[in-house]
Amino acid sequence: MSIAVDGVEPRYVFVPRTVEELLDVLAVVERDGLNTLIVGRGSKLFMGNVPRRLDALIVVGGMQPAVEVDEDELVFSSSASTSYDELRRELNRHGLRWPVDPPLARFSSVGGIVASNMYGPMAYWYMTPRDQLLRVRLALVGGSMTTWGAGVIKDVAGYNVRRLVAGSMGVLGVITEVKMRAAALPEEVAVAVLDRTLDLRALRKLKPVGAVEVDGRSYMRFEGNRAEVEYRLGSMGAGDVLYGREAEELWGDLTSMAGLFSEPVVLKVVAPPANLSAAPLPQGKTFRVPMLGVAYVATGSIVGLNDLRAWASSVGGHVAVLKAPPEAKAHMDVWDIRGNRDLMARVKEAFDPRGLLGAGRYI
């Protein structure tokens, strides 16, 4: 198997089939001091700084998928390698869902979504994977297995390592299993389409579960019981409305952002929501999540990035370069981490003392 990361080819590619094999591989990583990256299904392999040095890739996406659903508790456990679609189908079979709608979901593994903490517009109500994570099993360099969290809704015993692991891009260890909060399938789902964008306050008053703006149009998702959804749609006035399966398909297509991520450069702008409308976004395809203060922009180059970052910094936000050619990323921190990098590096060191995971791609 040959996989290059930003043009850098690893010497070794490990494809463990079981957790036991993964632990053996991690023992080898430590023994031989291999600078290693973790890959799930590879849907986000373009994300990150150009690797400083890359000896090995561990591809965990081929491990056996497994999902266990507990309808009484409204939770599910999933192996990291389970695909988002496999999980969705299994949860739907039990009348449940994982209430997340992150970019590239249809191409992602559960572990990849948690490791990147990528989220979509529904995070306004349901929060991010990091917030929904109840327990995580994390394999460390050297081959130790650790478990963080009791797996119940409320658990404050010890440090909240779960929150560190979610969004850590595989630099602390390898996620092998997660236990997450689920939600029941709502009685009704509707997506309303307006041919204009709305003022933020006006949008919030409509109380959608999530809202996006694409090409000058607003898409708002409503869900709940029928009376609730009809009431919200009634407050909105004019507009096209899709219900049920049609609504879910439209929402899934929109929020997956496959078209946007096929462009050579993708920026993610995060700002306090009231400031986002003033962002000096470059020309290109945009996907705004106004209630969260997040915008994705697909452009041809990173020209103007410094000005955009200066603006974001001035309002307390940041601009991550999610995708760009390696030569464009070579001399920047794509994540735009400004403060507390020293603390993050030392926290990483607590998990990975020799700094073997991540190869400079994240922290």
């Binding site: 507990d70 309808e71 009484d72 508790e73 409204l74 009348g95 929060m127 990091r130 917030d131 650790t146 009791a150 797996g151 119940v152 809704i153 409320k154 658990d155 404050v156 015993a157 010890g158 440090y159 909240n160 390592v161 929150r163 560190l164 979610a166 939600a183 029941a184 399938l185 709502p186 933020l200 709940g224 019981n225 029928r226 009376a227 609730e228 009431y231 919200r232 995060v270 700002a271 306090p272 929501p273 009231a274 400031n275 969260l292 203060g293 997040v294 307390g316 940041h318 991550a320 994540w335 981490i337 403060g339 507390n340 990098r341 603390l343 993050m344 926290v347 060191e349 607590a350 922290i363």
Partner: protein, 466 residues
């Protein structure tokens, strides 16, 4: 105590903000659990982050422990100065700095009382005509006295957390002072900060990594209508089963609380009596919210599910006043225990929701085996148990028995797949039990995380980690 330390502290915060008189120190010997007490050498009241930083540097220089304290309502000995040293009271840092509803956040100093946030948000909300406004959702039972900083330290939960999550899900940013005196800003008003989630790590770290001096919290929009449903059952088992059915149904209740007969008896014997039925073995109190028609439909569905699962009485609150009365009774349950027993130990384990009936039975057996009585008030939606084990402190053997029973209850929670603490924290009292949940490899990793921030083990030593 080293008099040089007191003089140096006074030079930072002013003489009037330093306590050394043993009589005055008495107040700071214990936290809200009142089970154990240890005296600090000195109490200081800094007024700014810079003063906190100065005190931190001094503690490090003198090699004395420093214990941050809000209102002291913690229930696990977290605010107790178990090794003496400096109690750093944040009481003077109690200003609401900004209500920014455009960005749906509020910025506060750490000693702002939880309930003040909602009062401030409601005042600001009047400026937005016809809008239902906003709320700060985390609402621990202590919300009228506990501080936001203390809630951050313990990652406090509360009644509405079933729907909205706990404190960590509402903290966007922190200003913290590290033990070396550095002031750091983590996160901010934006929905997400890049890099590892240090904000999330600090929340729930029980003051062992540093001192929080500013908190940016998100507020969530209120709905037009809230419906409150009261239901009674012949057994706590039946009530627990009804909760599982309710949660599976697709309704997202705002709150699901359970009180057993003993707890209702205590509440109804006191000033917050709300006419709750004393003859029921268990009582559920449930809120749903939404638009008027949406909330009404949910309330009907909830009532129908409860009836189908053994409720012998289901009532919808006739108006907001009645609902408020019922909730006030629930929230005063801890305080009302004085009417049925002179003292109590409150535990805080969580079990999987479906294990609630079994856990309740086991709790009764455990406590009875120690010759004591127990009342139960808990967050049924999330399986967070709060058994109140009643004892009389005039009999030291009873106190010890209550503590032993409490520990057995927590061990049972872990056996059933739960945790030793759902929202009160590990603190001092439960640190010995943490190995029930974490291996030595995991505990060692937590120790290394602590050392990243506090290599000299100056801040709140002896807490959380065994």
């Amino acid at each position: 105590m080293d008099r040089r330390l007191a003089r140096a502290l006074a030079s930072i915060v002013g003489e009037e903000n330093v306590l050394v008189d043993p009589a005055e120190l008495l107040v700071y010997e214990a936290d809200g659990s009142l089970v154990t007490a240890t005296r600090p050498d000195v109490v200081v009241f800094p007024g700014t982050a810079e003063e906190v930083a100065g005190v931190m540097r001094l503690a490090r220089e003198f090699g004395v422990p420093i214990v941050p304290r809000g209102s002291g309502t913690s229930l696990s000995g977290g605010a107790q100065p178990v090794r003496g040293g400096i109690v750093l009271s944040l009481a003077r840092m109690n200003r609401i700095l900004e209500v920014d509803l455009d960005n749906e956040v509020v910025v506060v100093e750490p000693a702002v009382i939880n309930a003040w946030v909602n009062e401030a948000v409601q005042r600001a909300g009047y400026a937005i005509a016809i809008d239902p406004g906003y709320q700060y959702a985390p609402d621990p039972g202590s919300q009228r006295v506990s501080t936001v900083g203390g809630n951050v330290g313990h990652n406090s939960g509360g009644i509405k957390c079933f729907k909205y999550g706990v404190t960590v899900n509402h903290v966007r940013g922190l200003e913290v002072v590290l033990p070396n005196g550095e002031v750091r800003r983590l996160g901010g008003k934006a929905f997400e900060a890049p890099g590892l989630d240090l904000t999330g790590l600090f929340v729930g770290s029980e003051g062992t990594l540093g001192v929080v001096t500013k908190v940016t919290i998100r507020v969530v929009p209120l709905f037009e209508a809230v419906k409150t449903i009261l239901a009674t059952f012949d057994s706590a088992d039946a009530a627990g089963s009804a909760v599982s059915a309710l949660v599976r149904s697709g309704v997202r209740p705002l709150a699901v609380e359970l009180m057993d007969k003993e707890a209702v008896e205590a509440v109804e014997s006191g000033p917050y009596a709300a006419g709750l039925p004393r003859d029921a073995e268990a009582l559920l109190l449930i809120d749903v919210e939404g638009s008027e028609p949406g909330a009404s439909q949910d309330a009907e569905k909830v009532a129908s599910i409860l009836r189908a699962h053994g409720a012998n009485m289901v009532r919808l609150a006739s108006d907001g006043d009645e609902a408020q009365k019922w909730w006030a009774a629930r929230k005063q349950a801890f305080g009302a225990m004085g009417f049925v027993g002179p003292n109590y130990v409150v535990e805080d384990g969580t079990v999987p929701r479906k294990a609630l009936p079994l856990a309740l039975n086991r709790i009764r057996e455990i406590v009875a085996a120690h010759g004591l009585r127990v009342a139960n008030v808990f967050h049924a939606g999330d399986g967070n148990l709060h058994p109140l084990i009643l004892y009389d402190e005039r009999d030291p053997a009873q106190r010890d028995a209550a503590l032993r029973a409490g520990e057995e209850v927590l061990r049972m929670c872990v056996e059933l797949g739960g945790t030793i603490t759902g929202e009160h924290g590990v603190g001092w009292h439960k640190r010995r039990l943490l190995p029930l949940m974490y291996s030595e490899v995991e505990l060692d990793l937590m120790r290394r995380i602590k050392a990243v921030f506090d290599p000299d083990n100056v801040v709140n030593p002896g807490k959380v980690l065994p």
